[in-house]
C-alpha cells in the first residue's frame, strides 16, 4: 500500500481539528486583540464534558455533544466577563490579558486533573473496520471528523456573511471605532464572538474525544497549534486561519515521514518560528501599517 494517501488523510483529520481551533481563535482575535490561550481550556472542557455526559452519566451521544458545546460556550463567555472585561481598564492590558488567559487555562487544566485524574480515558466507541477512501484507510469516526468540520465552517460562513448580525460582527472586527459610530454594540459583539469561538473549540474537543484518548494535558498542544495555524494563515482572518489549520495538519503528518514521530509536535513550532522570521503576517495576510501619517 502506498503511504502517501494515508499521510494526507491523517493530515486532513488533524487539520480539521486545528482548523476549528484556529477559526475560533481568529474570530475572537478580531475583537479581543490578544492571543487567548484560555481557548485551550474551552476545548479541554468540551472534550471532557462530552466524555462525562456520554460515558459517566450514560446520556445519548447527541445530547452529550449538545451539552458539551453549551458548557464550552458558557465557560468561554464566563472567562471573558470575569477576567478579560475587567482587565480592559488596565494600563498594560496587552500583557495582562495574555498572561491572565494563561493563568485561566492552567487553572481549568488543574481542575480537570483533580476531577478526572491523570489516567488516560477513552470514549470507547465500538471499533469498526476502516474503509478504503481514495487509497487510505479511514474509520467511520474519522470520516465524521473530516466531514463535520467543513459543515461547521459552512454554518459559520452563512452566519458571518448572510446575516445582519454577522455583518455587524465583521464590521466591529474591522474597525471598532467606526462600527461603534454606526450603532454596533461592540461589547455585545465581543461576547458573541467569544461564545462562537468557544463553541468551535468545544466542537474540536468533542471530535478529538471521539477518536483519541483523553488526557488532561491535551489542551496546551491543541491551543498552541490552533494559534500557529492562525498565524500561518494570517491572523484575524477566519478563512485564512482555517486554511492554515489544514496546512499545519498536512505539514505535520507529511513531516513525520522523514522524522521520528516523537518530533511531530515540534514540527508545528519549527514552522511557526520560520513564519515569524520570514512572513509574520501569514500566508494570506497583509502587513499592517505601523506608523504612517502626514
Amino acid at each position: 500500500m502506498d503511504i502517501l494517501p494515508q499521510l494526507i488523510m491523517n493530515g486532513l483529520i488533524a487539520g480539521s481539528v486545528y482548523a476549528l481551533m484556529a477559526a475560533g481563535f481568529s474570530l475572537m482575535y478580531g475583537l479581543q486583540r490578544f492571543m487567548n490561550v484560555a481557548h485551550g481550556a474551552t476545548y479541554l472542557v468540551g472534550a471532557f464534558a462530552a466524555y462525562a455526559c456520554a460515558r459517566l452519566a450514560g446520556m445519548p451521544l447527541a445530547l452529550s455533544f449538545a451539552i458539551a458545546v453549551l458548557v464550552a460556550t458558557g465557560l468561554g463567555v464566563a472567562i471573558n466577563q470575569l477576567v478579560y472585561v475587567p482587565l480592559q481598564r488596565q494600563k498594560e492590558k496587552d500583557r495582562a490579558l495574555l498572561l491572565a488567559s494563561f493563568g485561566v487555562f492552567l487553572l481549568v487544566e488543574a481542575i480537570i486533573l483533580m476531577v478526572f485524574g491523570a489516567d488516560v480515558k477513552s470514549f470507547g466507541l465500538p471499533v469498526r473496520k476502516g474503509m478504503d477512501v481514495l487509497g487510505a484507510v479511514v474509520t467511520p469516526v474519522q470520516l465524521v471528523i473530516i466531514l463535520a468540520a467543513p459543515l461547521v465552517f459552512l454554518g459559520l460562513w452563512l452566519f458571518l456573511y448572510r446575516t445582519r448580525t454577522g455583518t455587524a460582527l465583521r464590521a466591529a472586527a474591522d474597525n471598532e471605532a467606526i462600527a461603534r459610530t454606526m450603532g454596533v454594540n461592540v461589547r455585545a459583539m465581543t461576547t458573541l464572538t467569544t461564545a462562537l469561538g468557544s463553541a468551535l473549540a468545544g466542537v474540536a474537543g468533542i471530535l478529538v474525544a471521539l477518536e483519541q484518548n483523553l488526557e488532561h494535558s491535551m489542551g496546551l498542544p491543541a491551543v498552541l497549534k490552533g494559534l500557529t495555524a492562525a498565524i500561518i494563515g494570517g491572523i484575524g482572518n477566519v478563512p485564512a486561519a482555517i486554511l492554515g489549520g489544514y496546512l499545519l495538519g498536512l505539514a505535520e503528518n507529511l513531516g513525520i515521514w522523514y522524522l521520528p514521530s516523537g518530533y511531530k509536535d515540534a514540527i508545528a513550532f519549527v514552522i511557526l518560528i520560520l513564519f515569524l522570521l520570514v512572513r509574520p503576517q501569514g500566508f494570506f495576510g497583509t502587513r499592517r501599517r505601523e506608523e504612517a501619517g502626514g
Binding site: 490578544f34 492571543m35 477576567v83 475587567p86 482587565l87 488596565q90 494600563k91 498594560e92 496587552d94 500583557r95 495582562a96 495574555l98 498572561l99 491572565a100 494563561f102 493563568g103 485561566v104 487555562f105 492552567l106 487553572l107 487544566e109 488543574a110 481542575i111 486533573l113 483533580m114 485524574g117 491523570a118 496546551l220 498542544p221 498552541l224 494559534l227 500557529t228 498565524i231 521520528p260 516523537g262 518530533y263 509536535d265 515540534a266 508545528a268 513550532f269 519549527v270 511557526l272 518560528i273 515569524l276 522570521l277 509574520p280 506608523e291
Partner: protein, 304 residues
C-alpha cells in the same frame, strides 16, 4: 529530619530565585515576554549533567558550560524573536520550549530520552564534598546572592537604563542611538546564562533529571514568581520565588493522592497568577511600589 526538609526547601527556593531574577531581567526590565526560560534552565541542567556523567567534568566546569550553552541558545533565539512584538514573541518563545522538550525526549542517544539521567555527582570544592545539605544550601545561597548582585549592577548601569528605555518605548530608544536588537539579544543571553547556571545547580542537587522537570507548566510557574513579586524588582522576584515554593508545601502533609496534589499545586499557582494580574498588576513588590516608598521615606527624612 525537619532541618533536612527545610534545607531542601531553601535550596529549591534559591534555584527558583535565580530563575525568577534572571527571567525578570528579560520580562520586567527589557519588556521581553519570554516564555522560553525553562528551556534555558533545561539546557543548562542537561549540559552540566551530561558533561559530568559522560566525561567526568567537575561541577564547576559543567555549570559554566551549562550557562554558556544556554546563553548561546538565548542569543540564537533572539534573532527570530527580538523583532517580534508582544503576542508573537510569546508564541515564538513558547514554541522554542516545546522544540527543546521534544529534542530532550526524542534524541535518546544523547539525552537518554524519557528515562532521564541518573547518578549526577554532587560537587566538590577544594577537595571537600558539597553533598551534605548544609554545604549545598550555602552553595545555592552564594549562587543566588551572586545573581542578585550581578543583576542589580547591570540594571542600574547605563546598559540597564537602555533596557528600561526599550521596554517603555522601543522606537524612541532607537531614535536616541540605542541598538535595540543588540541590547535585547544581550539581555536575553545573560538571562539565559543565569537560567543555565540554575539548571546545573538543580541537576547536581537532585542528581536525576528527565524532561518532565522542564515542562511548560514550569515556565508559567517561574513567570508567576516574577509577576507575583513584581516586574522590574529583583527583590520581588526573590520574594515571589520563596512564596510560590512554600505555598503548596502544606499539601504534602494531607492524605490525598498525588494526582490531586499535582492538580492542587497547579491550581494554586494559576489562581494566584490570575488574582495578582486582576487585583495587583504591579505585583507585591513592583518597581514603582518599592522606589516610590523609598523616595517618600527620603523626602520625609529630608523634610524633617
Amino acid at each position: 529530619m525537619i532541618e533536612q526538609y527545610l534545607l531542601h526547601l531553601f535550596i529549591i527556593a534559591c534555584v527558583y530565585a535565580i530563575l525568577a531574577m534572571s527571567l525578570n531581567l528579560a520580562v520586567g526590565f527589557t519588556g521581553l515576554l519570554n516564555l522560553g526560560h525553562v528551556a534555558f534552565y533545561a539546557i543548562g541542567a542537561y549540559t552540566s549533567a551530561l558533561l559530568a556523567v559522560g566525561l567526568g567534568v567537575p561541577f564547576w566546569g559543567g555549570m559554566l558550560a551549562g550557562g554558556c550553552m544556554a546563553a548561546l541558545f538565548g542569543y540564537l533565539l533572539s534573532f527570530p524573536t527580538v523583532r517580534l512584538k508582544g503576542d508573537y514573541l510569546v508564541l515564538g518563545t513558547l514554541g522554542f520550549t516545546i522544540i527543546v522538550e521534544a529534542v530532550l525526549k526524542n534524541w535518546a542517544s544523547l539525552t537518554r530520552g524519557p528515562l532521564g539521567i541518573a547518578g549526577i555527582p554532587k560537587p566538590r570544592l577544594l577537595g571537600l564534598s558539597l553533598s551534605p545539605l548544609p554545604a549545598y544550601a550555602l552553595l545555592a545561597l552564594a549562587a543566588a546572592l551572586l545573581t542578585y548582585w550581578l543583576l542589580s549592577l547591570v540594571v542600574a548601569s547605563p546598559f540597564g537604563r537602555t533596557l528600561k528605555a526599550i521596554r517603555d518605548d522601543e522606537v524612541a530608544a532607537g531614535a536616541l542611538g540605542k541598538d535595540t536588537f543588540r541590547a535585547k539579544a544581550k539581555a536575553l543571553a545573560l538571562s539565559a546564562f543565569l537560567a543555565g547556571v540554575a539548571g546545573a545547580l538543580y541537576a547536581h542537587y537532585i542528581t536525576f533529571i528527565d524532561p518532565s522537570s522542564f515542562s511548560i507548566t514550569e515556565t508559567i510557574l517561574i513567570f508567576s514568581m516574577v509577576l507575583v513579586g513584581g516586574t522590574a524588582s529583583l527583590l520581588g522576584s526573590v520574594a515571589g520565588a520563596a512564596l510560590l515554593v512554600l505555598l503548596p508545601e502544606p499539601l504534602r502533609f494531607l492524605p490525598i493522592p498525588s494526582d490531586i496534589v499535582g492538580g492542587m499545586r497547579q491550581a494554586i499557582y494559576a489562581l494566584l497568577l490570575v488574582l495578582v494580574i486582576l487585583k495587583r498588576p504591579q505585583g507585591l513588590l513592583g518597581e514603582d511600589t518599592l522606589r516610590d516608598a523609598w523616595a517618600r521615606a527620603r523626602r520625609r527624612r529630608k523634610g524633617a
